[in-house]
Structure formats: C-alpha cells, structure tokens
Symmetry: C2
Subunit: 147 residues, 2 copies
DNA sequence: ATCGCTTTGAGAACGATTCTCATTCACAGT
DNA sequence: ACTGTGAATGAGAATCGTTCTCAAAGCGAT
C-alpha cells in the first residue's frame, strides 16, 4: 500500500507529464517504498505483481518524472528507489561487487557540503550542466566478506 | 601503437595471470590509451580492428588483471579506460545523461582527502570492505546543452 | 619440429530491455 | 450514467549487449 502522504505529491509530479496514478503505478511505487533497498526491475515485478513489460514502462516514466531514481548496481540490471524528494533525505550507496546488493549510506555533512561546492563550480568551469552527483562506495558487503 | 613505457608494466600484470601480451591485446590497450575518453566495447572494436567477441573477452581479462577499469556510463553499454596505475592519476567522471559521453574530471585534493577519510572508516563502521569509490557527476555536457 | 597451453573468431545462445499493437481503462465533458 | 479521447495495459516479438562454444591458429619452452 502506497502511503497517502507520498501519493499526494506523486499525483502532482505525474500530472505535469499527463500521467495518471493508476493501480499499477501505485503497486510499483508501494514496492519501492517498502523495499528497504534499491530493487531490480524483476524484484519490483514480483513484489508488485505487475507484468514485467509494464514495470519496465512504468519505471522509465517514473524516472523521467523524477519520482524514481535509478541506481547503478554492480551487475544484473539497474536498481530503483524512490527519488529523494519522495522518501528519505539525500544519501549514497554501498554497492557489493560480489552479490550486487546495494545499501544506503549517509556521509558526513561536511563531505556533502564540499561535494556541493565543488560540483556547483562545474557549469562555469567546463560548461557541464549538473543534475546530480553519484558517490558510491564499492566493495564487499559484510555477508560476502565472511566466505 | 601502445607506448612502450606502459607495455612494460602491462606485461608484468598480465604475467601474474598467465596471460600474454598478444597483438590483439596491444591493439585494444592502444585504443584505450589514445582515446581521450572512456570507450564502449564497440568503440574499442572499431578503433582496434579486433573482432567484437575477442574485444569482450580481452577487456574482461584486462579488467580482471587490473589493467583496465570499467566505467559506468549513462546507457548503451559500459565504458573502459586504462586503470589509474597505468595512465593518469586518480580522477572522476562527468557523465552526460543525454549522449552518454563520459569525460574526466579531477576534484580538489581537499575533497579527495575527505572522501578517503570517510571511506576508510566504513570497514569498522558497517563491516563493508571497500575496494574503491565512484564519484560521478551527471548532467548534460556542453554539446547537449545547446539544443 | 613437437608438445602443451593460450588465444582467436564466427556464430549460436542468452538475458535484459524495448517495441508493437489490439484491448482496456480513466477522466472530462455532456 | 453515457460517450469520446487519449492514456495504460500486457503478451509476445524484436532488439541489443554480452557470454558461450568449439574448432582452428599461435606461442613458448623443450
Ligand atoms: Mn538508496
Ligand atoms: Mn576517466
Ligand atoms: Zn554482498
Ligand atoms: Zn552529451
């Protein structure tokens, strides 16, 4: 079940693109809201009971609308989570290069500030129009370490 | 043509895995050395005139041997560049979400230091064994901005 | 030259993602 | 409630990047 607090703002964001909040999209978003990690398309399909082709289409639209964020996993397909405006605060990821699992991680405020500052200078410096930054840490998760 | 300075250390790194520096591998590495951006597998195949299946196999082996680094692009296949030990210093990437092009970018030493410090604390903090970090900036490149 | 191992390359196989299109649905009038 | 219009759906085909297969060729040591 998609929490109603989110639903309100989601409807708005969808409306801009003339998209509707259908039962399928509700189910997809609910899956992302309740999954505690970024999910693969397949995982979303299973968790939401929405046909795969529709999940692909919907996730693409939701990403386009800024409601869902694509997270680059280690392999085996992209993962997805609710965009920051619709869920948690800003955060980054620990990506396990062994099992592919992605978990959240929040760096210090100091690091974020410095990143913001540095990234903010890019447009003037090299003419690159920044939409966001990705700061992922890659390695082996606790589980994959003890083997 | 692969510069001889690199060739020396490459041979060593290959030897560890009992791999040889063949003409094909030379061509693949030369393509990466002279391309000024991370290249897709297809681009490497074209630039090196090595058959696609061999390029895939070789790139995988070279990545495994730590000679080549895989760079996550925006879409349309992974990209590759010479690993830092065999080319430039440590750096990061500007990824264009429109055309997929990836260009290098070096943040301030201060930012790198802070990242190192923060990343270095992760093993003790959450049991995550770090191999490396990814700090990519995403957005639109200069070319894709003026449209 | 010969042996034992690595490498090669064309194509088949595969898995993830996108496309197609006939059908169904949602919402805004009326 | 009824209707019209465009959005959404879903099953399967098509596509695309990548991996696999295997017979032929290459390399280095003896
Ligand atoms: Mn996350
Ligand atoms: Mn680079
Ligand atoms: Zn793991
Ligand atoms: Zn671009």
């Amino acid at each position: 079940m998609l929490s109603s607090s989110i639903a309100a703002s989601v409807v708005q964001a969808l409306a801009v693109r003339e998209l509707r909040l259908t039962a399928n999209r509700r189910a997809v978003l609910a899956a992302l809201e309740h999954g505690q990690r970024p999910l693969t398309t397949e995982e979303v399909a299973v968790a939401s009971s929405v046909p795969v082709s529709t999940v692909y289409r919907n996730l693409a639209e939701l990403v386009e609308a800024g409601i869902v964020a694509r997270v680059a996993g280690a392999s085996g397909g992209d993962r997805h989570e609710l965009a920051e405006a619709f869920s948690e605060h800003h955060h980054h990821h620990l990506v396990c290069i062994e099992c592919g699992i992605v978990t959240d991680f929040t760096p210090s405020a100091q690091l974020e500030r410095l990143i913001e500052k540095e990234v903010g200078a890019l447009p003037d410096r090299v003419g690159f129009e920044v939409t966001h930054h990705v700061f992922d840490v890659r390695g082996r998760c606790r589980d994959c370490t003890r083997t």
